[in-house]
Each structure stands twice: as structure tokens, then as C-alpha cells.
Symmetry: C2
Subunit: 419 residues, 2 copies
């Protein structure tokens, strides 16, 4: 495998001002393309440190990717070090990138300053991949001391992430990578250990050239990634497909997607495909479910709206939850979750609805421990409720409550559709 | 200044499965305590790489902090390398940590397995700081080759963050750190360059031993951090206070807090202090404002609820926005924002309300570019609206819309309170 190193440059990361998310995106992409990320590091805007670090990493890695250190104010440091590493300190102007800089400044109604123009200057031995999303060009240096290739990417996250496809294409064009094929399967509702136990016989019977990875994520559940190395795409697809059928037979509707997805996106696809609409009534999740639904572009086609009923009078007046129900069963109860769900459905005129009432923390009440949530779902064929208990802090409880509510709604809707 | 290196150990970070947030938390804490973080790095669960990396970093840094590599399954690798570095590979059981392990397993209803018990084994030259939050102890190795001290922390984020105070106390107890005092000022509504220009005369007149840092954050605006080195706490506090008064005279109500805070927390404090209540009506922000309000513990004291009115009929039926207003002015308009705000206030019976209607993306409409939002706020003395335009993607537009709405509401409420 080809070794790669990811290096972020910039004091802002070292003082903790910025969380580095670029490295994680790059690492995922490189790993999925079949490279081995040997290390990631962050260094400051310091000439000596940049030079020594890059020299060392180029001895151990065929590919080094840097992000950051290329803004209009710090340009000279990183770019100067890279120029010297490449063997020539002469800078030349890149007309294509200059044109992008001009366009971006014009769009913001700004004049071109010398510091902007200087961003189009690149070391003469650099190849340029034009950065359409920002002012700093993506630079490629080949045959550096040690023999490796260095890709210098801007530090702005959407520019760095935007550069990934072009970088991967360039890597593929210059060195033979092992053919690798990945397929993701999204699973919800099983802890990692329980899932592992359940699918152990299937996993143990996987062919030797297939690899299974568990990629847990609190909000999306578990992403199982099945990879196959060194085979043709057609043959690989067919062989993976066969294994996935075995997995589906074991896991059934615990699998919510056969591609990398989220619960809210999967639900949206179901609603759109069947011309259905949905609404929500939220107490303890406080708007997070509505936020998840509406984070999906095009969600206005099926998401009608929601009520966050934090105060009891809002549950009664807006959602029509009978005050006797609240008095008799308590706010955190199956009965109130059901009444909220039917109330939202009636109020919004949607086909389906989902409701939450619970205790996210920091404290519980006399009847329910902190981390308790009752979820209610309602549709044309009736109403159901379920209780979940999590042991996280307030923020994470809100996230997990929301994910369980979406998953409960998903199985409820699917049961209707399959009948 | 004392140099420090932060090193995360674990394959899961190198393949991009996990975003490393520990390093950023540690870097902030070390920097605020007066250390200089020279580099951060991530390496895999690989003996040789761990050993060589730690040896090298100990030559350049007086303090090295590792996180991760200490779970029950990978224990042997990192712990073995650290034991060899310390000069003795003998492991001894730490009774205090064993007791914590026993308590944690009992709380989960689990039996003690040999792999659990092994977590209480530490190299004999390690000092232990008991980790009350997890099973892996925090280990301190002093006088390693190169002379430095190494702190080995668990990788689980809340355990690593939980270990920071004890680590800082230990560092302070063993090496003289410069006295350093920080104060944060939260500013909203000014881009970094505009803010810098506005406060340039004040900044230029700061005494030489005071340092100003700009710490921008999309959601909270700008955190200005004023630091003073090497003076007594009392003297430092008084001198910083005097400078802050000068800053307040320039920035006025653009400053929303004189400590590290968020808009939703600051608003909550205002509402609580004056016994006021609030509600929201959200279109384009889709629940995010409710989510921000309710993310603050104790928010049920002032946040009554909200309506996410994504579909037009919900705006009309639930919030009572007249259909003629929508027809005449369009959904994204000052008039609809105002009607949504008054509608929410009437429906929920709150003192104040905030409403949003706009286009988060991916596309705009015939009258408004993508990124347009109208915010309406309503209270006992009337209703106001404001228009904002951002140029981000959908996710970020939703975040910025929400932050501007909260800030607009803040200035609106403060104007009432000051009259």
C-alpha cells in the first residue's frame, strides 16, 4: 500500500481555536481510495518546523498532503518553504487562478489588493489545480527530495474538501493503486457488540479478500462497510451484492439503507416516493427532529411543520393534549406521547407524525430517570408509542432521542407500506 | 515558554472514522495555562511508530500528552511502549483504579473480565492519576529520555477532557509557568476585518504586556480574548477591567457577554433575570432556533415553545398569517416575518417571540437570492423585522440565520429593558 501523510499548517489549530476537520475528511477519502494514512500532524506557521517536518514525512510517505498556511497574509511562509523544497524559489503568476481571484472579489464587491494578486503566484516547479472555491490555488509538487509528491491544499474547510476529488484523480493518474470497492450498509438500533455477535457467523464466512469495518456514529447508528480488493468492478459488485443479501436476511429492517445515508434522508426518500407528508411535536428534543428533517434539501416536499411544546399549556392549547391525560399519567408518558402525535397530525394535516416527551437532563423527575423518552408515532392506521432510555449528557440525549424517534417512525411507516 | 506536544494514538483517527476533538480541547487548555503547543500529531496503533514518535517529541518538548491507545484490547501496545521508555517493563496493579473499574462494571451489570482487570496494571515507574470517568488510568511518566514528562490519557473524549484539570495541576506543580490571566468578550454582528478596523486605536494603545486574540466562530460571532502575563491576579483583573471599559465604549451592545458564552445562553439569562418568556416561529431555520434555546439547561423556565411552519398552510392555520399577506408580499418578506412573530406570541402566550422566513438553499426564488432571511421579533411594545443575506451552503445558512435571529431578538429585548 502507498503511505500518505496529512499535515495541517497553522497556529490557529495549535492553540485550539479551530478543530481540524480537514484531516478526517482527507483520511476517509484516502483510505477509501486504497492508500494507507500513516500519520496526521498539525504544525504552526513556522518556517523551520514546516521545512523539517515535510522533509521527514517525504522520506516515509509517497504522498504528503498539506492544508492551510496559504492565506493572503501567511502565504510567504508555506509557499516559500515549498518553493525551496522543489528546487526553485522563482514564482510565476498563474492566469487561471488569477481569474478566479478576480471573480470572487468582484462577487463580494471588493477591489483586487496586491495581497490578493500575490495569491496567484506559485513556485515555477508547482503544477496548479485551479481552486474554483477560493483564492489560494491547489499546488502539486512532484519528485521532491525522497521521491514523493506533495499536494498543498487551502485550509478553508469547504475548499479543502472540495479539492479532494481532483487530488485523488491526480494520485490515481500517477501511481498504481489497488482496485478497491466499498459498499456501506446503515444499521440502527443495535449496539456494536450485539451487532457483532448477531452477524458473527456471516462475518466469519466472508471470503478472505473481503473486509468488514464497523463505523459507529451516535446519530446514524452503525455504518457497516464491506470492502473488496483487487478485482474488476463488475465482479466485485456482484460478489458484494451476494454477501449483502446474506446480511439482509439476518438484519431485516434494522438495515435502513444500502448506501451511506442518514435516518432523516432515508425517511425523506420514503415519504417522497409514496407522496406522503409528515409533521412533528417535540418536547424534550426541543426542535432537533424538525432541524434534522429540514436539513435535507427538498424536505419541504414532505415535511409540513412541527410544534415544539416545551411548556405544558402549549401541549394543551396548541396540540390539544387533554389536561386530564397529563395529570393522570404525567408529562413523560406513553399517553402524552400518543396525544402529542395525534395532535400534531390533526393540526398540521399530515399523513404521519412523530412526537417526543422525555427528560434530556441534567435532572430526572420522581417517576422517570434522566435519559427517558417516550416516542409517539401516528398515521392513517393508528398510533404507537415506545420508551427508550439513554445515559448520556443533555446534548447527546437530545441527539439520541431524536435518532430513536426517527427510526421508530421509519419502522412504523414501513409496516404500513408493506401491508 | 514551555513546549508541549499533543499526540493521539489510534487507527480509528487515521482512517477518518473519528474526528479528533481531544487535541483541540487540550490545546486550548494548555495555551490558556501559558504553555506553547509546538505540534499535534496522530499515529496508528503501531509499536515502532509510537516509540519513535514519542522519543523524537520528547527531545523537543518538555511536556508530551498522549490520548488513546489504552482500551482493554490495545492496552499492551501503548502501555508496553511507555513502560520500555520509562526504563522498566514491570507492571503493577493500581488498587484505586481497580476499584473504579469494579464500580463502573457493576453499574453496567457486567462481570470483571481479565481484560478489564488488566487495565489497572501500570508500568511501575508511572504515577497514576485515577480516572473516575472510565476504566483506563491516567499515567504520568517523569524524567524520560530527553528529560520531559509524558501524560498518557484515555482516548474517550469525555474522559480525556475530564483529565485536563488534573494534568494542568500536575504540570503547574512541577514546573514554573508564567502567570497568565484571560478575559473573553463576545461580540456579534461584525466581520473580523470590520471589527479590527473599529477597535484599532484601542488595540494599538494596549499596554505591551497585554495581548488580544481574535477567535471567530460562525455561531457565536467573535470571541475577543484579552490576556495579561506575569502579574498578580488582583492587579491583572483591575488592569484588564479598565481596558474592557474602553472596549465597551466603542462596541456598545455589539458586545453580548463579558465572559465566554453563546447568544442563546445570554438571552436565557436576560429572560430569567426579568421573568420574561419567549417563543419562536420558524420557517427556513426549521427548528434550529428552538434547538438552540432548549440546548441550555433550565430553558423551560422561559422558552414556552415554537412552531416550525414549513408548509404555507401551517403558517396560515397554526400561526394565523393572513393568506393575503403571503399572496401580496411573498412568503419571504418582512410582512410575513412580522405576522409569524405576532402569531407565535399570541399562540404561545409569551412575552417575546422571534420568527424566520427565508431561503437556506440550495436554490433561491424569483424575488430573493439563496441566503436571504427575514427575521421578525415581537414583544409587548411592538414588532420589528430585519433582512440578512448570507452566502453559505444550506447547513451554514441555517446556522447563520438562527444566530442573526437570536442577536436581533437580543437587541430588541434590551432596547425595551433600557427604556
Amino acid at each position: 500500500m502507498i503511505n500518505a501523510c496529512i499535515c495541517t499548517i497553522g497556529d490557529e489549530i495549535l492553540i485550539g481555536q479551530v478543530v481540524d476537520t480537514n484531516s478526517s475528511h482527507l483520511a476517509t477519502a484516502l483510505e477509501e481510495a486504497g492508500l494507507h494514512v500513516s500519520r496526521m500532524l498539525s504544525i504552526g506557521d513556522n518556517k523551520k518546523d514546516i521545512r523539517e517536518t515535510l522533509r521527514r514525512e517525504l522520506r516515509h510517505n509517497a504522498v504528503v498532503i498539506t492544508t492551510g498556511g496559504l492565506g493572503p497574509t501567511k502565504d510567504d511562509i508555506t509557499k516559500g518553504v515549498l518553493a525551496r523544497l522543489s528546487g526553485s524559489t522563482r514564482l510565476v503568476e498563474h492566469p487561471g487562478q488569477l481569474e478566479v481571484i478576480r471573480r470572487i472579489l468582484a462577487g463580494r464587491g471588493l477591489d483586487m489588493l496586491p495581497s490578493n494578486q500575490a495569491q496567484a503566484l506559485v513556485p515555477e516547479k508547482a503544477e496548479v489545480i485551479i481552486n474554483e472555491l477560493g483564492t489560494a490555488p491547489i499546488m502539486v509538487f512532484r519528485n521532491l527530495p525522497g521521491g514523493g509528491t506533495l499536494y498543498a491544499l487551502p485550509g478553508v474547510p469547504h475548499e479543502a474538501v472540495g479539492a479532494i476529488p481532483a487530488v485523488l484523480e491526480d494520485i490515481r493518474g500517477h501511481q498504481p493503486l489497488s482496485h478497491i470497492l466499498h459498499r456501506s450498509v446503515m444499521v440502527y438500533g443495535l449496539a456494536e457488540s450485539a451487532l457483532a455477535e448477531l452477524i458473527a457467523p456471516w462475518e466469519d464466512a466472508l471470503p478472505a479478500d473481503m473486509h468488514l469495518a464497523y463505523l459507529p456514529h451516535m446519530l446514524t447508528g452503525m455504518r457497516l462497510r464491506l470492502s473488496i480488493y483487487d478485482c474488476t468492478p463488475e465482479e466485485g459488485e456482484a460478489r458484494i451484492q451476494k454477501q449483502l443479501e446474506g446480511l439482509q436476511a439476518i438484519l431485516g429492517d434494522r438495515i435502513y439503507s444500502l448506501e451511506d445515508s442518514t435516518l432523516e434522508k432515508t425517511l425523506g426518500e420514503i415519504f417522497k416516493a409514496h407522496g406522503l407528508t409528515v409533521s412533528a411535536a417535540e418536547s424534550c428534543t426541543g426542535g432537533e427532529i424538525a432541524h434534522l428533517f429540514t436539513s435535507v434539501p427538498g424536505s419541504s416536499a414532505y415535511f409540513l411543520g412541527s410544534v415544539t411544546s416545551y411548556a405544558i399549556p402549549v401541549k394543551e392549547r396548541v396540540l390539544g393534549v387533554p389536561s386530564e391525560t397529563i395529570e393522570k399519567y404525567g408529562v413523560v408518558s406513553s399517553e402524552v406521547a400518543a396525544a402529542m402525535a395525534t395532535g400534531a397530525r390533526t393540526l398540521m394535516g399530515s399523513d404521519y407524525s412523530v412526537a417526543t416527551t422525555g427528560l434530556a437532563g441534567p435532572s430526572g423527575d420522581e417517576n422517570n430517570p434522566v435519559g427517558t423518552v417516550w416516542v409517539g408515532v401516528s398515521g392513517p392506521n393508528g398510533t404507537q408509542t415506545a420508551r427508550f432510555l439513554f445515559k448520556n449528557d443533555r446534548k447527546r440525549n437530545i441527539e439520541r432521542f431524536s435518532a430513536s424517534a426517527l427510526n421508530f417512525l421509519r419502522t412504523f411507516v414501513l409496516a404500513d407500506l408493506n401491508n
